[in-house]
Amino acid sequence: MSVDIGDPAPDFVLPDTAGEGWSLRDDGTAVTVVVFTCNHCPYALAWHDRIVDAARDYADSDVRFLAINANDAERYPRDSYEAMQARVAREGWPMPYLHDATQEVARAYGAKTTPDVFVIDAAGALRYRGAPDSDYDDPTQRAAWLRDAVDAVLAGRTPERSQTPPVGCSIKWRR
């Protein structure tokens, strides 16, 4: 399965690292940024600080960021729930880090890589999907594609760039 631009983004309830459940559609936020990510992928790690900076920069706007780890923790123990908890405790994230243990959410979104970014409007429609910016190796990019999409949705516009190829490590599906 996957979600096309303009389609309703699948709802979900997933636990964060403190055990609290988070839903896509529970608070009428203007923009929700869903980022499929993980603990061990160099692409996810290279982009992580830029995504964190964006989450902090939009903290006073009507925007929330939800990071989701769907990787198979059995084959990749560094993506276990316990490892997610340890990482958040160590680094202090400005967004919840959700565990998709069954991988149903990642499959419903058609997530392919870590990272894979989805920007969703208040009505629950997908408005951007793809990479945070054009180059994992260039921190000056500052997650520009993600920010452009968020700014457009906040302004009531259609993002100029609504879809880019996600770049990163493949999601580690269970066998």
Partner: protein
């Protein structure tokens, strides 16, 4: 050694060829080996893609910064650039240093 689930192979190969040219080994053969299964990864001690062996010695191990107790897995390998950034490919200067070390071992 490379794994198809990681998109860094082409860049790593390009940077390796550049490094070979920089140290005067531009004519040397680069052999590519695809790792497809967990079993192959374990047998080859493959801790992630790309893993580069120079004359049989793993690149980062040659620099005293081996993968340590990292488990073998079909994975993208995490490298650290010299400026501290995380990268899916080795720092080009690390490549050149490891190649020069291999040249010194041969002499």
């Amino acid at each position: 050694m490379w794994w198809e689930g990681c998109p860094s192979t082409e860049r790593a190969l390009s940077e390796l060829r550049d490094a070979l040219s920089d140290v005067g080994l531009g004519g040397e053969e680069v052999r590519m080996r695809e790792i497809r299964t967990d079993e192959q990864a374990a047998a080859a001690r493959f801790t992630g893609s790309p893993t580069i062996l120079i004359e049989g010695v793993e690149l980062m191990a040659a620099l005293g910064r081996g993968a340590g107790d990292e488990p073998a897995a079909l994975n993208c390998r995490v490298y650290a650039r010299r400026d501290g950034r995380v990268s899916p490919t080795p720092d080009p200067q690390d490549l050149r240093d490891a190649l020069r070390a291999a040249i010194d071992r041969e002499e």
